[in-house]
């Protein structure tokens, strides 16, 4: 076999499946979304017109507005809720809490750290409907709810999180699951730090906090950047737990939820496929923008650059 043929075969064998996967699950859906967003497709799935009507449902032209258009209230609200939801879940749980978990569980003896990590992996391992049901039981507004039972012990009146703090509820519910991935990645990163660095630091008289600050955190820069970018994008499009816990509530109607309720969600006026596609298209644009900004901020280019030493 000639070298050229072998190279071509190798490319096909090694890159083929990934390329196929990429085209079938990413490129084609985005293409379909792009086309559908500019049609009038609804319940009957027929397309009569190519139109920008769906985008006029999202924004109306306005001379006073800075960009020449004004976002409609429900869309603006969805955008703001998405920003709050993604930022809070990401910073508090998926990155912040994941880091705390990784630092604390690696500081513990191995067996104990292992148990704690296993506990934090449980939400990830349980089926989503079961996990959502556990949350629903926990925050039940009556005195039957677990949270209210605990509050009752301290003489605090029952609270209703679904009504009074819906965003806190979905941030917690998503965060408890999201923290586990970051915890695993960061734990393995901490484990890969050469042991002698810790000994050297200790020999130089560094305390635990100094070790964390000067040795562990600098080593976690790349995994933290990766988790931030990856999880920000994942959160932007996630709606599973929001839907299971809150239903189509207005108080937690993020962009992804809005797209879902307008298209496929049962019994809430769905079937507006083109409108949903337009919302999704904007979500894709927002996602790309967020990814590029974070990529730049986290200097991911340096992470993905070729190593300076060539290894043969």
């Amino acid at each position: 076999m000639s070298s050229a043929t072998r190279q071509a075969t190798n490319a096909l064998v090694f890159l083929g499946p990934a390329c196929l996967f990429l085209v079938a699950l990413l490129v084609i859906p985005i293409g379909v979304d792009l086309v559908v967003a500019f049609t009038d497709m609804s319940q009957t799935l027929t397309v009569d017109d190519l139109t920008t009507e769906q985008f006029r449902k999202i924004a109306t032209p306005s001379d006073e507005a800075l960009l020449g258009f004004e976002l409609r209230y429900s869309f603006y609200k969805a955008l703001m809720l998405t920003a709050v939801y993604v930022t809070c879940t990401l910073t508090i749980f998926n990155v912040g809490f994941a880091l705390v978990l990784a630092l604390t569980t690696t500081a513990l003896p191995d067996w104990l750290g292992g148990i704690y990590r296993a506990i934090w992996l449980l939400p990830r391992m349980s089926p989503s409907v079961v996990y959502a049901l556990l949350w629903l039981w926990s925050v039940d507004p009556t005195e039957r709810g677990l949270l209210n039972q605990v509050l009752g012990v301290f003489g605090i009146a029952p609270i209703n999180m679904k009504l009074d703090a819906p965003m806190v509820l979905i941030v917690f519910a998503n965060g408890f699951i999201g923290a586990s991935i970051g915890m695993l990645i960061l734990t393995s990163a901490i484990r890969s730090i050469p042991e002698h660095l810790f000994h050297a630091a200790r020999a130089d008289g560094a305390g635990s906090l100094s070790v964390v600050r000067h040795i562990v955190l600098p080593h976690l820069r790349w995994p933290l950047s990766y988790i931030t970018v990856f999880q920000a994008l994942a959160l932007l499009v996630s709606f599973e737990y929001i839907f299971l816990i809150m239903g189509p509530a207005r108080s937690t109607m993020t962009m992804a939820m809005l797209a879902y309720t307008k298209t496929l969600a049962p019994d809430i006026g769905s079937g507006q496929y083109a409108y949903g596609a337009a919302i999704t298209l904007i979500l894709i644009v927002v996602g790309v923008a967020v990814a590029l900004i974070l990529y730049r901020l986290a200097n991911m280019k340096a992470l993905l650059a070729r190593p300076r030493i060539e290894v043969h």
């Binding site: 319940q43 009957t44 799935l45 027929t46 006029r56 449902k57 409609r72 209230y73 429900s74 629903l136 507004p141 209703n160 679904k162 009504l163 819906p166 809150m246 239903g247 189509p248 509530a249 207005r250 108080s251 309720t261 049962p266 019994d267 809430i268 006026g269 769905s270 079937g271 507006q272 409108y275």
Partner: protein
Amino acid sequence: MKRTILTAATAALLATTAHVAPVAAEDVTVTLWSRADRSGPLRAGNIMDAAEQLNRMFEAAGADTRVTVELIETNAKGFDADALDLLKAHSVGETPDIAVAAHEWIGSFVEAEFAANLEEHIAANETMYADIIPSLWNAVKYKGERYGIPQDSEVRMFFVNNDILREMGKDEAFISNLQGRVEAGEFTMYDWCDLAAEAVDSGAAEYGWVHRPNVGPDFQMAMAAFGIDIYNDEEARLQITRSGLQDYYEWLDYCVDNGSLPADLTTWTWDSVHDAFRSGKAMGKFHGIWNVGAQMEAFDLSNADAYFDKLTWIHAPAGEEGGEPKNLSHPIVYVVGDTENKDIAAMLVAMASQHVPNTKHAVTTNHTPINYGQTAMPEFQDKGWALIAGTPMLDYAEFMPNHAKIGQYNAITFMGVQAVETGEMSPEDATAFVIEEMEIELGDDVIILD
């Protein structure tokens, strides 16, 4: 020479066809789309039985045609989700010959060229349909013509727990006069909330009253009680009245403020809503007659007397004194697909809609009948007392319009319900917001009146 061969071949072909045709049995497979639903297994079952009956008729007539029904049982969460699935199946060429559906989808089905026009079939088989309660035909009409056959009907109302009224100190005369006062327009929606708040304040009930937690047809009767006529028949367009909508939201706001309606009701599950009423915690509930079975079980009641001693039914009272009360009927219908089997499919539907099979469905699932004569049947007299009691309520019934966008319309007005009840918006803001959403999302499909 060529011509001779061709003629011979044609002759041979004709001879074979002529010879074979009477011998080969013709099997017709009719596909039936039906959602797996505890509230009506016989909706599909009656069509299967009809096919067996028809096959016996063919056999008796010496005909070789045999009909097989292929059931496509879907597991959609509700009738709306099921209708969307059905439209998707139709769009890829998998059109069923018969579908069981919620009537308001007929508009969409006609627009999608799925539903067959049944006017000719009904006219040709007049005796099979002559006893159907005429008002039910309204539920299957789109632009004046019939595209379905009513399968069952029901009536939705406010249920009142009499024991809670008694505990509040109301006497028997108050309880027995309640429905009369509602029908006379003396007892209004505001009186309803006041009564429910009194139940909570007196400690007789934990909740005043509860409604469904999600989007659905029930709200339409409350809207109608505030004078909103949601459909313009002549123009076949949806309709909303700004002032009526605001009155409706102000009423909901009033109910939440006076403590009779839980502010977070729209975040409850169905189970909690059912439980609130069936466990005796709520004074009232806004739902449908098919609940009777579950209520009998929950309150441990054994007969009609015990039931009506425990519960009272009222229409949705008028919005203001002197107005007209309303309730809602939401029939399920058979729709015949515009397929090559549509004639035989329509015959199966006609057979399944006769008194005996329909009564079997109605009494086992607590749905009101489609034919007048059914109420006289012994089985109905025996097991269908609740349905007989509910049938006169149909005089006040409204139907959902058979408009393709009614699901969207309900979802938009429900956003206002959610916004007002949770305190996110004032009734005025919610009205302005809902009207804006309607203008943008429904466009020409909705007429906005002041």
